[in-house]
Symmetry: C2
Subunit: 140 residues, 2 copies
DNA sequence: ATATTTTGTTTACAGATGTAAACTTTAAAT
DNA sequence: ATTTAAAGTTTACATCTGTAAACAAAATAT
């Protein structure tokens, strides 16, 4: 199976800026992150370089300063990260974890409706109980 | 602020077993993980030791073999991990991320109801839109 | 044209993580 | 009492991550 490159916490901060702007120069990223964090510009440069090595970013090198663009879709990255974390959890407890998340996150009216809808659909075939498989040989 | 010790992916596997059993000897953990993974027993021993150093586990050392017990509640650990990850995300996208999670997780009927209830409560005060703050100086 | 500033690349280094062998101490078997 | 087996501790080593300085190349200012 292909090695899944993961994004570190610090790298997430860089990606969020570039996703939000669509593309950005290193200066733009540095200016924003210097306001958000106490990282030195050198640190942010390192993160940009690592993100390129991991193929999360590419530099448009036709002219200086380079313009950095995302190579991965934000929603896909979120999907992968979140599912990767949930793979660690006892499947019996994922429901509670989601509830906890709902209670601790700001969510818009339309997202709330959308989640409720997904839950209603899910209820049609959901099991009464989800069994813990933490001791089983089975991968997951 | 107190340094937050985090649990690595491999360490999660160990903790899940001990949480599920309530307590366990290293042999029990090793037997189960050798069926689940291709880790050598030495690897699992290392994980147990690291978990003790991080204060996630303690050994009952009154008699051999030691009995290892969790020092952190499973739900609390899940809460911390999940929220830690969600802190990385653009707040505008958390709703979608939760929906995605709902669709990709097995959830029991009762958990579904419970989440719907939480969402209904949330809807009472939820904003129409959640603004992206990825470029703001503000922490988080 | 040269000095200076900006931007990009290399090198650095400590701590965390995955992965495990080697060693030590204790308990069990002969 | 000894040998052996099991359990626990130390050491090891590569890669990843946080954090950044030093260096090189290009662009800008003088």
């Amino acid at each position: 199976m292909t090695e899944i490159e993961t994004m570190s916490k610090a790298e997430w901060q860089v990606m969020r800026i570039i996703w939000t702007l669509g593309q950005a120069t290193s200066k733009e990223v540095i200016d924003i992150l210097e306001r958000k964090t106490d990282w030195k510009s050198a640190t942010i440069k390192t993160l940009i370089i690592r993100l390129q090595k991991k193929n999360f970013l590419k530099a448009e090198e036709t002219k200086r300063p380079y313009v950095y663009k995302p190579l991965i879709d934000e929603d896909l990255a979120i999907h992968q990260s979140v599912n990767n974390l949930f793979d660690n959890l006892c499947c019996m407890r994922k429901g509670q974890a989601i509830k906890d998340l709902v209670q601790n996150s700001e969510i818009s009216q339309s997202d709330i409706s959308s989640i409720v809808e997904a839950l209603n659909a899910k209820a049609k075939t959901a099991p009464e109980e989800v069994e813990c498989n933490c001791l089983e040989a089975n991968l997951s």
